[in-house]
């Protein structure tokens, strides 16, 4: 069901060559590939419609890669990418991710820049129940792509939920970024922060509600220039994990900032050189 056939073929291309290809394809990108999604779960989700703001999304090119069956709804890995030829100068501004079957459907919004290299992100999310996960990609041209995938959520017969969170390592961060990249290459950046990402929707052992406390913002800059950022909500899994991409023109310091809704923040950095 996943339309990820082309993902691998474009994976090795730099943004520039992808853009060149995109230019060639731009001629037909407006009509034959421009199938408007007339049916879809997204049409019944208010939070999706609010982001669309009247736009007719194209049911093509927004690729969600999720397991067909998840045995642990508390942490479901999801890969998001855009697989569609772009017009000259057209790029993906943001990807919006929704879990309509969760009490609060907005999961996260990811913002890309030319330094992102590739509009793709990997993360882990909470899924309350079996449902269709929805993603929107907003393009700079104003076009919007929509993608959906159903995930069946079960709890494996042998799994028990860990309902406690070890706060010893809270706010500890980990980063893995490429130390050296060739000019034009796209590198992967793995990030994680130890944080309970309290949804405000669960009770503790004594039955009291645990107040909401979220990492709500993540920003990555290279030498002060924005590379990638994300707005995170309650359906991001405990210990928010984000993998994004970077295509630096020149080497420098990659700085990362996670901000909690209380204002507290954590920082990390990595040096990247470009040869």
């Amino acid at each position: 069901m996943k339309a990820n056939i082309m993902t691998n073929s474009t994976a090795g291309l730099s943004r520039r060559s992808a853009l060149v290809l995109g230019g060639a394809a731009a001629v037909f990108s407006l009509s034959p590939l421009g199938a408007v999604a007339n049916t879809g779960t997204w049409q019944r989700v208010d939070e999706v419609l609010a982001v669309l703001d009247g736009a007719d999304p194209i049911a093509q090119g927004m690729v969600l890669d999720l397991p067909l069956v998840s045995e642990n709804g508390a942490s479901v890995q999801v890969n998001l990418s855009v697989d569609r030829p772009m017009a000259d100068g057209e790029f993906v501004e943001s990807i919006h991710l929704f879990a309509p079957g969760n009490p609060y459907p907005e999961i996260a919004t990811y913002h890309f820049t030319p330094l992102s290299g590739r509009p793709a992100v990997e993360t882990r999310i909470r899924l309350n129940e079996t449902q269709t996960v929805i993603a929107l990609a907003k393009l700079s041209s104003g076009a919007v792509l929509v993608g959906e995938q159903e995930v069946r959520v079960t709890t494996s017969g042998c799994l028990t939920d860990a309902d406690t969170y070890d706060t010893a390592n809270e706010f500890q961060t980990r980063v893995r970024a490429p130390e050296v990249l060739a000019t034009g290459d796209i590198g992967e950046v793995l990030t994680i922060i130890n944080h309970p990402q309290e949804s405000g929707l669960r009770t503790d052992a004594s039955g009291d509600m645990v107040p909401m406390r979220l990492i709500e913002r993540f920003e990555a800059t290279l030498n002060g220039e924005p590379v990638f950022s994300a707005d995170l909500n309650r359906s991001v899994a405990t210990n928010p994990y984000i993998k994004f991409h970077i295509a630096p023109q020149a080497g420098g310091t990659l700085e990362l900032i996670w901000t909690e809704d209380t204002g507290e923040s954590a920082q990390a950095s990595a040096e990247i050189s470009v040869s």
Binding site: L68, S156, G157, C158, Y241
Partner: protein, 431 residues
């Protein structure tokens, strides 16, 4: 073949017309009843063979199994822990052949033609079937972890199929010096035996405690939560102090690269761990014959119709056990045994032209944390709206606050379970 089927249909009709409603097997017993080929003599396949023959001895059942003796993954951890001899987890097919009349073919099935209804063996032999039942277990996804291939597994075993791999790991543990480090890497879901990696480190801790008390165990996990987690961790604290260190996915537990020469593993965020003995339990998929039969999905597992465990993709092929998508049922020997019985009943009913009854399954997974410290998880499963489900309020794990006596009794029941299920599956008493 068509003739045989239509004869069967008419026989079914005769049986229905007679007053012995509950005894259709007498009607069936009067003629040849169909040919079933079963690939894989583990918990799923051997159980199905036995229960088909029990229900209708006139069904011709051929079991294709590569090894002459089947060694079980359940209780292989007890062998590693020094609680059992290796041969005690081996089971012959003698009762299936001698008592139940199952034809045993020792060979490797490598091809299935679903249209022609044939199975091809590595020897070139071709066997025809009316119904095929695959119980292929799992295969490792070689290469999913960089550097971890079949050659690497000769140095860093997976030991996730009981046999020479298990014996290799045991010999490495025995050769290790006191004070050494044992590393186990546990895979992401879904995989064979969800509590297995955690029971394994428990049993190896038991072996270390008795023989090499200064040794350490590092459990690197590709998950943030695992089966019976709270019970395992409490048991580790109680029996082994700080010998076992669990590193979750979020704390950089996911192994992404293995270096057998340096005896090192690398995690996602770049940490290098050196071990004296390393055990990689890699990501898995359905056994190869499932792919060859065209019954796997894009994830590498087999979607089935839950009422019968017939493939969703190819008619007349039934698949049971770890290879299937049966969640929330876990990939366990108990599940495979229970699924084998349901598939057997479905095949018998299909030959008789009858409807299969309403299936239900149960699962109980015992794990030993120490020789006298057992824990369990149990559940009953049934089909609802086309999917396997559990009943709210049923099932669950051993109580967190149970006393020593409770843990000791569950350890005794674990052994009782093993004796019973291996007898139910192969009919053979352990050597």
């Amino acid at each position: 073949m068509i003739n045989r089927r239509s004869i069967l249909k008419s026989m079914g009709a005769v049986a229905l017309a007679t007053p012995v409603l509950s005894l259709p097997s007498i009607g069936r017993a009067q003629g040849a009843a169909g040919r079933v080929v079963i690939v894989g003599g583990g918990f799923g396949g051997a159980t199905a063979a036995k229960y088909i023959k029990r229900a209708n001895p006139n069904i011709d059942v051929t079991l294709i199994e590569a090894s002459g003796r089947f060694y079980t993954c359940p209780f292989s951890n007890l062998y590693l822990g020094g609680l059992r001899e290796f041969e005690s987890i081996g089971h012959s097919f003698d009762e299936l052949t001698d008592v139940y009349g199952v034809n045993l073919v020792t060979g490797w099935a490598e091809g299935v033609d679903g249209d022609a209804h044939t199975v091809t063996l590595a020897s070139g032999d071709v066997i025809e079937y009316d119904k095929l039942l695959l119980s292929p277990g799992v295969d490792m996804r070689w290469g999913a972890i960089e550097g971890y291939d079949e050659a690497a597994a000769e140095i860093i075993p997976h030991a996730w199929k009981a046999g020479p791999q298990t014996q290799l790991l045991k010999s490495q543990l025995e050769a290790m010096d006191d004070g050494g480090t044992f590393i186990l890497s546990s895979p992401p879901d879904p995989f064979r035996c969800p509590p297995g990696p955690y029971e394994r480190v428990s049993m190896i801790a038991n072996y270390f405690k008795n023989n090499k008390p200064n040794s350490k165990i590092l459990l690197l996990d590709s998950k943030d939560a695992f089966s019976k987690q709270g019970l395992f961790q409490a048991g580790w604290d109680a029996l082994y102090g700080d010998m076992i260190e669990w590193v979750s996915l979020s704390n950089d537990g996911e192994v992404i690269r293995v270096d057998p020469e340096a005896m090192e593993v690398e995690t996602a965020f770049g940490e290098i761990h050196r071990g004296d003995v390393i055990n990689i339990v890699p990501p898995q998929k359905a056994g190869a014959i499932a792919d060859a039969a065209g019954v796997t999905n894009e994830g590498g597992w087999v979607p089935i119709k839950p009422d019968t465990f017939e493939s969703q993709l190819v008619d007349d092929i039934y698949v049971v056990g770890d290879a299937t998508v049966a969640a929330p049922m876990p990939k366990s020997g108990f599940s495979a045994n229970a699924q084998g019985k349901v598939a057997a009943a479905a095949i018998v009913a299909s030959f008789a032209g009858e409807d299969v009854g309403t299936p239900s399954w149960a699962n109980t997974c015992y794990s030993l944390i120490g020789p006298e410290y057992g824990i369990s998880v149990a559940a009953v499963y049934r089909v609802e709206d086309g999917a396997i489900t559990t009943l709210e309020g049923s099932g669950g794990v051993s109580p967190a606050d149970a006393d020593e006596d409770f843990r000791r009794r569950e350890a005794i029941y674990a052994v009782g379970w093993y004796d019973a299920i291996t007898q139910d599956t192969w009919g053979s008493s352990p050597a």
